[in-house]
């Protein structure tokens, strides 16, 4: 089996596995603190127990997600060196700075999260307790920022030059703020906020469908859909910039994602379809001029085709489907949250109709899928490079004979963790339903 015989393939698959699992928790880890903060802030401002309870219950689920995010993050951190030793040796020289700072950012976040969780009732003033969340949210966003610049560097290795096989002129700052970083970082952070909102919205909508017609869930749904809409729109805007970045600096990635082979002007955007033998897509949806607009903001602009890239440096063409999945889900979520927001603003009953709620429930997993598709597209779309133009994955991978075995072991681990998360989260919220908890709170409030 290739997995056991070829360490390069094995390393790629194990990295794929770890990142695919980790990114779910990393994304929610970045986005959910902001949601908790907003809920608690609204709760304090409106003096509404429901929002405070929302923050409290989200935080309780959040720690479980953070735990898995921490341990899988440790796994990928070490696997980078274990699976890609040549790459990390080179990367250590140039891009170690943001990796190092990421640890600080996370450290900062972890400390304050610990304090926040165990001090719910230690502050007289709720606002002081809310303040503890600020470093948590900042730490989370900074972690995402730093780590994404490393990925940006892999796509756009700036900040050093190689003369006669020797590395010279290293500038860690330039490497960190490489050409790919601005669009990548904003895209990652915006989508983390968007996905977290829609995942929490899905939970609220699901609760409302399960007979519970509690105001608590309605408020949760309303809040998350609104925040989700804002970040979904932000994501679309950033996505447009990402398209322009790719067209200018990584044309082969955009071309592979778009099945755009010949350099031409007035290029259409191709969605889905099947690629024939002559590289002609059939059954595809074509949006005229759209690729030219995405790439250069001009319907008549010329877009570089994949044929300009040497055959052995072309990414695999199936990234097209990842790209399409990401775009489709993003657009769907903008539409859905816009309709929800508009309908509830106008007081139309469609906002609280069953089909609407089912669609919102579907939006949670779909948003996660969009994140996954985006990362698959980003990583497969960079092939054969691990560091674009400098080092290929073949050159970077370990030669160890045991990569396949480790793949099996880690697959087992992620399965155990995945099941554990589902079981524990269900238990936490089932054993302690919100009605019960709110009831207790109300009693306490009266006693005071």
């Amino acid at each position: 089996m290739l997995l056991f015989d070829d360490p390069v393939f094995g390393s790629r698959m194990l990295t794929l596995l770890t990142l695919t699992f980790h990114i779910i928790f990393a994304t929610l880890g970045v986005g959910v603190p902001l949601m908790i903060m907003i809920a608690q802030w609204v709760g304090i401002k409106r003096n509404d127990m429901h929002y405070i309870m929302l923050a409290r219950r989200w935080a309780r689920g959040f720690v479980v997600l953070v735990a898995v995010g921490v341990v899988t993050g440790t796994a990928i951190g070490l696997q980078l060196s274990l699976l890609w030793p040549e790459f990390m040796q080179l990367a250590g020289h140039v891009i170690a700075l943001p990796l190092f700072m990421e640890v600080f950012a996370f450290f900062f976040e972890a400390i304050f999260l610990g304090i926040y969780l165990y001090t719910w009732d230690r502050f007289e003033n709720q606002k002081k307790h809310l303040l503890l969340l600020v470093p948590v949210a900042i730490g989370a966003a900074l972690s995402a920022f730093f780590i994404t610049t490393v990925n940006g560097f892999m796509n756009s290795p700036d900040g050093f030059s190689i003369v006669d096989g020797q590395m010279t002129g290293v500038s860690p700052i330039e490497a960190m703020f490489n050409t790919a970083s601005p669009t990548k970082v904003t895209h990652v952070i915006a989508t983390a906020f968007m996905t977290s909102s829609f995942v929490l919205a899905a939970v609220a909508a699901f609760k409302l469908l399960c007979r519970s017609n509690h105001d608590y869930h309605k408020k949760a749904l309303h809040l998350t859909m609104k925040v989700g809409l804002v970040f979904a729109v932000a994501t679309a805007i950033v996505g447009d910039f990402s398209g322009k970045y790719l067209a200018e600096h990584q044309p082969e990635k955009l071309a592979a994602a778009e099945w755009h082979f010949e350099t031409e002007s007035e290029a259409p955007l191709v969605l889905y379809g099947i690629l024939g033998e002559d590289n002609e897509p059939s059954y595809a949806i074509e949006i005229p001029y759209a690729l030219s607009i995405l790439a250069h903001n001009d319907p008549f602009a010329e877009v570089e085709g994949l044929n300009e890239t040497p055959a052995d440096e072309q990414p695999l063409l199936f990234v097209h489907y990842f790209f399409d999945t990401m775009i489709t889900i993003g657009m769907f979520m903008i539409g859905l949250s816009l309709i929800y927001w508009f309908a509830s603003w106008r007081g139309w009953s469609v906002a609280s109709s069953k089909p609407m709620r089912w669609l919102i429930v579907a939006g949670g997993p779909l948003s996660i899928l969009a994140i996954e598709a985006g990362w698959w597209m980003a990583e497969f779309g960079r092939q054969p490079w691990i560091l674009r133009g400098v080092m290929t994955v073949d050159e970077a991978a370990t030669q160890s004979a045991y990569v396949g075995h480790m793949f099996v072991a880690f697959a087992g681990l992620y399965f155990i963790l995945g099941v554990g998360v589902v079981v524990v989260l269900t238990k936490i919220f089932k054993d302690n339903p919100v009605e019960l908890e709110l009831g207790e709170q109300v009693v306490i409030a009266h006693e005071l």
């Binding site: 990390m88 140039v94 640890v103 600080f104 900062f108 160890s400 998360v421 989260l425 936490i428």
Partner: protein, 337 residues
């Protein structure tokens, strides 16, 4: 001071921090499981939970800090150790992942679940054992360079008495460090029953700690005479370490000032750990990789040091706050908050 020395000192200090913090954590998990097994959980579980809950995540960050830092300051370590440690470190990661997440599952999901608690306790002893293998490998004799690529000789590693001495020391040290810390913590909480039990554990594990540690120095004499020689040059550091050890055991024995006893214990381990670290210099992986071969370029070294100082300025006040709220707040420790 050259950048490589600064880098090494910083990283070694963080590794030491991890050894202490993680030992407390690992040992606490073990004592918790052991107390459930022997029906003493009524005495111990509460005090252990009280301490572990807010700090478990912080422990892990020390480790991440160390390995990210070493790749930054000494990128060649990523190549050498990355190439040879796939299997042992993967095992450690898996155990660490199970431990970390199942702690959270137990703590936030189903408190008192015996399966989780046992898993947590067992991994607490296996993880230090599996990580300690890295130190053994660094002593040399287990790595060959074939076609320019380092290869680990698994059989030589697992059949070496040095490997097993280090494994045993790591486990015993975990139990000792942890029981001394928890004795102090329980005492502060005013939980005399728990303090008495933990004090007994501390006294049980004190002597084995020193015996196994001396055993390793003895093993090194035949395994790596060069390293043994430089260890002997630092005999005075080990002597100080031993004096600290005697003083802290005496305090525990006399049931006096457990706080000072724990500080002395940190001193004991610090002197031994740094003496060991200094004596390894200049090798990162004997004899293939030295500190000066592998150090990063000046630009990166400077920026890492700047980032480190800035990071510390941010972290130290935060860590202080964490400790004040949970470690030095008597009312919290006693369970009144």
């Amino acid at each position: 001071m050259s950048y490589e020395i600064i880098g090494m000192v910083v990283l070694w200090t963080f590794l030491f921090g991890y050894v202490i913090v993680a030992s407390v954590d690992f040992g606490a998990g073990f004592f918790n499981a052991y107390s459930i097994l022997t029906g003493k959980d009524r005495i111990l579980t509460k005090i252990i939970q009280r301490y572990l809950s807010p700090v478990w995540e912080v422990t892990n960050v020390f480790l991440v800090f160390f390995f990210v830092g070493i790749v930054g300051f000494f990128p060649s370590t990523a190549y050498f150790y990355g190439s040879i440690l796939l299997v042992p470190v993967s095992i450690s990661i898996i155990l660490l992942a199970i431990r970390g997440s199942y702690y959270a599952f137990e703590n936030y999901g189903s408190r008192g679940h015996r399966g989780y608690a046992f898993m947590y306790g067992a991994t607490g002893l296996v993880i230090p054992a599996s990580f300690s293998v890295v130190l053994t490998v660094s002593e040399g004799g287990f790595v060959d360079i074939m076609d320019g690529r380092p290869q680990l000789d698994y059989w030589a590693l697992f059949s070496s008495p040095l490997t097993w001495s280090i494994v045993i020391l790591s486990i015993i040290a975990v139990l000792y460090i942890s029981s001394v810390f928890l004795t102090w913590y329980a005492n502060r909480a005013g939980d005399m029953e728990a303090a008495a039990l933990l004090r007994r554990y501390a006294l049980i594990w004190a002597l084995p700690t020193i015996i196994t540690a001396s055993g390793i120095i003895y093993e090194l004499r035949s395994h790596n005479p060069e390293h043994f020689g430089s260890l002997m040059n630092l005999w005075w550091m080990f002597a100080i370490s031993f004096i600290f050890f005697v003083a802290s055991v005496w305090l525990i024995l006399k049931q006096k000032n457990y706080g000072l006893a724990f500080i002395l214990l940190i001193g004991q381990f610090a002197f031994a750990f740094f003496a060991y670290g200094i004596s390894k210099y200049p090798y990162l992986l004997y004899p293939h990789l030295t500190v000066s071969d592998s150090v990063t370029n000046d630009a990166m070294a400077i920026s890492l040091i700047v980032a480190f100082v800035a990071g510390l300025l941010l972290l130290l006040p935060s860590l202080y706050l964490l400790m004040r709220l949970f470690l030095f707040d008597d009312q919290y420790i006693a369970g009144k908050k």
